[in-house]
Amino acid sequence: MSIDVHQLDAGAWISVNDSREVSVSNLWRLARQEFCGCEMADFLAEGFVEVGVDTRAIEARIAGQCIACGASGVTDWLAVGRVLDGEFRPVVPESVHIPCRRSRLARPASLE
């Protein structure tokens, strides 16, 4: 089954199969990350810069800021959810996430 993902409205949200699924303005806890010097980044998502699919996992690089230390920029790849039985299951942003240097993208992330 093909999964269609893109970011829309200047990175405001991620669409998965034409359904609005992940939005900006959430705080994400990021561990083992290189985004900033914090042990655990408290990351405000301000815009989705790139999105991609790895089989069923939806991944994104997110522009934003760590509200603990103030560092701002774009994260490495983060899993934002998966598609199971045709349905999108989001991850819980406030639980701990580990960004990956490279995406194992099955196909290139499409911008927008």
Binding site: D4, H6, L8, D9, A10, G11, A12, W13, S15, N17, D18, S19, R20, S23, V24, S25, L27, D42, L44, E46, G47, V49, Q65, I67, G70, S72, P108, S110, L111, E112
Partner: protein, 590 residues
């Protein structure tokens, strides 16, 4: 590789979107195929319809582009009637009621809670009265902005209104420029006050004079590549071109074709022409324009009038806006009225339209500071007009904190937002007015509040810039702002310096009070803007602290998590959306 959006645009874009839109309207919201939502919503923007944020599915924001902010006699009443009938949602706004109009920072009008089923009727009413939503959003020529009193201003050197009007006629609905890589924002200024805000537009015409064939000619210097969005603000850059009012359409056609052909269609984040100007430099922009896009020899730039600019210039001796009573060259007067955060309930809009008819010519104009202007009031009618009760709420002589406030849409409707904006800004202004004495000599004090980095409220060109953020208070996430100081336009425009970061929203008024107190203590003759400019970052950071006060903020929680921040049952799961044309929610198992 090209983006999804470019792919959708290749299939259907521009004027032809209308017939599809009308078909969907006829058959109802549910007729838009589920797997085509993204493509159609992207395309609908071209016709001024922007799908509202998460939780508000099936409702649209509708933008009406009024070139130069000019509403001809009769048009405002039509807008009020449309807002009253069609722009009502499932919940009211506690400050503004059930139906209202927003005057935007680009002299346009925004309505919310619009149903696709109503669009054909709305378009009929608009178009029968010379109004349109065409290209109000989307990737093409946006509403053309300029001095809101063009043609009625004693400071004018070139009448910019016919130029703006001509560009509007020529480039709205013009196939050649209907599909650009990104939005295209144009400003035309004819006065020596600089109130067209050319510096923050993609293409700016600014008043200048030049000797051509031995004759002193008034016209424009051309600047390109301004814009505030994402953390990449740019002022438009001088490309060393003078053009006469007659040649403005040729230069416009050339510049927007250059953008069409050379703008980055592979990366929407890099698409605005400001980035092409960064990459190419102004010389290459000028040469390419000359060689490939215009057929006459472009004169080099003339002498501009920038040193006379007073608009939002941070001066103490003159107001930098259009509020108040001003004489027109024909002996009549225009009266600028302050509209807090640019929003007016429909009954007030209707009353404004009728007052404009009664006392003026019926014309009303919108400013880039989200305010309104009633023009053509004869001297003999001024006093009676100024006594009208409506002017108690929309004052021609407002308190500086009211006068200087601008706020964008924010979490109420906007997908990109981080925080609540308009209602909060209204509360900030009220609190500041009650609790903070403005230091002597300050006439204007601009506070611009944007819900995110897109900067729709133009925060970077204000004395105090507020940009939506989050922070934690007692471990809990709360809405917050990054605070910048000392921005503005004028001869030497300056973007605010970001000084106090992640300040909890309820500590912002205290911070502003403390900054003003520091200014009062430490400043001599200098203006607030000069005071900020004279200090380095470290000094500015030490200037003031955020502070809790008796200001209470009802929007500290994550308002973006609600389906509508002011609903009684505001949780996402309580949303009455998507809905059918009559407002009944469509449930998943329908």
């Amino acid at each position: 590789m090209s983006t999804n959006v470019e792919g959708w645009k290749d299939e259907v874009y521009g004027e032809e979107i209308r017939e599809h839109l009308f078909e969907f309207a006829e058959e109802g919201w549910e007729s838009i195929p589920d797997d085509e939502h993204d493509a159609w919503f992207e395309r609908f923007k071209w016709w001024g319809l922007y799908h509202q944020r998460n939780g508000q599915e099936s409702y649209f924001m509708m933008r009406i582009g009024t070139p130069n902010g000019v509403l001809e006699p009769g048009q405002l009443e039509v807008v009020a009637d449309i807002a009253d009938e069609y722009a009502r949602g499932p919940a009211d706004n506690p400050e503004f009621g059930g139906a209202y109009c927003d005057w935007t920072t680009r002299q346009s009008i925004q309505l919310h809670w619009i149903r696709i089923e109503d669009v054909p009727e709305i378009f009929d009413k608009l178009e029968a009265n010379g109004l349109s939503t065409m290209q109000a959003c989307g990737d093409s020529w946006r509403n053309i902005v300029g001095c809101p009193v063009a043609g009625k201003d004693k400071h004018e050197h070139v009448d910019a209104w016919p130029v703006a009007e001509q560009l509007h006629e020529e480039f709205k609905g013009n196939d050649a420029y209907e599909n650009l890589p990104r939005k295209w924002k144009v400003s035309v200024t004819g006065c020596d006050e600089g109130c067209g805000q050319g510096d923050i537009n993609d293409l700016a015409f600014e008043p200048a004079r030049k000797e051509i064939d031995g004759e002193e000619t008034m016209g424009f210097n051309v600047r390109v590549g301004g814009g505030l969005s994402r953390k990449e603000p740019r002022f438009a850059r001088d490309i060393d071109v003078f053009c006469t009012p007659e040649d403005a359409p040729k230069v416009s056609a050339g510049m927007s074709a250059l953008f069409r052909d050379h703008g980055d269609r592979d990366d929407r984040f890099n698409a605005r022409i400001k980035f092409l100007v960064d990459e190419w430099g102004t010389e290459k922009i000028r040469n390419t324009l000359q060689e490939e896009y215009v057929e006459y020899e472009l004169p080099s730039a003339g002498d501009d009038l920038r040193e006379q600019y007073t608009y939002n210039a941070g001066r103490q001796d003159e107001h930098g806006d259009h509020i108040g009573v001003h004489e027109q060259p024909d002996g009549n007067y225009y009266v600028g009225l302050n509209v807090m955060v640019g929003r007016m309930g429909v009954d007030d809009v209707r009353e404004l339209a009728s007052l404009a008819d009664e006392y003026g010519s019926g014309e009303v104009r919108l400013t880039q500071r989200q305010n309104v202007i009633v023009t053509d009031v004869p001297e003999g009618s001024l006093d009676a007009f100024l006594d009208e009760p409506l002017l108690e709420d929309y004052s021609p002589d407002p308190h500086p904190f009211m006068r200087g406030s601008i706020a964008c849409t924010g979490t109420e409707f906007c997908s990109l937002s981080i925080v609540e904006t308009k209602n909060r800004q209204v509360r900030y202004a009220r609190w500041l007015k009650e609790n903070v004495e403005l230091p002597a000599g300050i006439q204007d004090f601009h506070i611009h509040l944007s819900g995110c980095t897109a900067s729709c409220a133009q925060p970077q060109i204000a004395d105090i810039s507020l940009r939506g953020m989050k922070t934690r208070k007692d471990g809990e996430p709360v809405e917050a702002f990054d605070i910048g100081l000392g921005g503005g336009l004028g001869e030497d425009p300056h973007f605010a310096d970001w000084i106090a970061m992640r300040v909890a929203a309820d500590e912002v008024p205290g911070y502003i009070r403390n900054v003003l107190a520091a200014y009062e203590d430490e400043s001599g003759e200098e203006s607030f803007r000069e005071f900020i400019a004279a200090r380095d970052e470290e000094e500015l950071e030490a200037l003031a602290e955020p502070e809790e006060t008796d200001y209470a903020d009802p929007y500290m929680h994550n308002t973006k998590m609600t389906w509508y921040p002011y609903a009684d049952e505001d949780e996402m799961d309580d949303r009455p959306t998507p809905a059918r044309a009559d407002g009944t929610p469509i449930t998943a198992d329908d």
